[in-house]
Subunit: 131 residues, 2 copies
DNA sequence: CACCTGTTATAACATATATATAACAGGTGG
DNA sequence: CCACCTGTTATATATATGTTATAACAGGTG
């Protein structure tokens, strides 16, 4: 999967990496069990340091999106999860986003439509146009 | 409005401040035109530095949630906004959240229900229980 | 044994965050 | 005019975080 880093972004590189890999899993560009490039290889491809990639992998491992096999290296893992715990994890961030949306005058219907649209893109699989 | 800062959080203090004020506006605990505590007063109340509060106010001003009157100081401003621009601003963050939700096994219906529930809390006005 | 994997350690540097102290321009009220 | 409030700006300092660099280690592969 192609990783693109915005070096002028205020978002940390390791954070962008995490997000793009999670985005990749959600859009089926990365599938369960798929091997990820090694920390050194990924670092070379992107043009960043090995430790920055390692930090991203470590975080993804802690969050349960990646596992490590001594033999193969890091690979995607979307193991079964606790539904209520998942909702609790997502809920806090969602509250912040919805608060901002509501302050900007967006209605509940606006946000429901947005969620519906984005989720359809994910379920629809790989998109060929702009991200 | 009561502001509570988690000093052990990995989230920056000025960021927590911004989020809580936006949350406050969304939940009608802060209303349009309402005067905010001065940077010095707010800093004293919370127990942080004046500049940290000033940074939060500056960001909120840039995002259009706060305006400054030479005479009164800072006050809440939820002026009319461009709907499409608002959606565009919220969309990127929403993609990240929904990707994570989907990876954790949450369905579109789960997320629609979550949005529905949170938005109802906001529209319902002030809540007396937790958060 | 050479080569790959993730992991750890250490150092160095840049940037971000938070604090402290001070000053300034503009507005308010005595 | 004068004291007092407002946000704003400047400067310095301390700490935390992010990123890079170099090096080494244990474990697995061929």
């Amino acid at each position: 999967m192609l990783i693109e880093i915005d070096f002028s972004s205020d978002e940390a590189i390791y954070q962008q990496l995490c997000n793009q890999i999670i985005l990749g899993i959600a859009t089926s560009r990365l599938t369960d069990g798929e091997v990820l490039p090694s920390v050194r290889q990924m670092a070379d491809e992107i043009g960043i340091n090995m430790h920055t990639v390692n930090k991203a992998y470590t975080i993804l491992r802690q969050e349960g999106f990646v596992k490590v096999d001594r033999r193969r290296g890091a690979f995607v893992s979307v193991g079964d999860r606790n539904r209520e715990r998942a909702i609790r994890l997502v809920e806090k961030d969602m509250r912040v986003i919805l608060a901002e949306a509501r302050c900007r005058g967006l209605s509940k219907q606006d946000m429901l439509a947005l969620v519906d649209r984005i989720y359809d893109e994910y379920d629809g699989g790989i998109r060929t146009d702009d991200q």
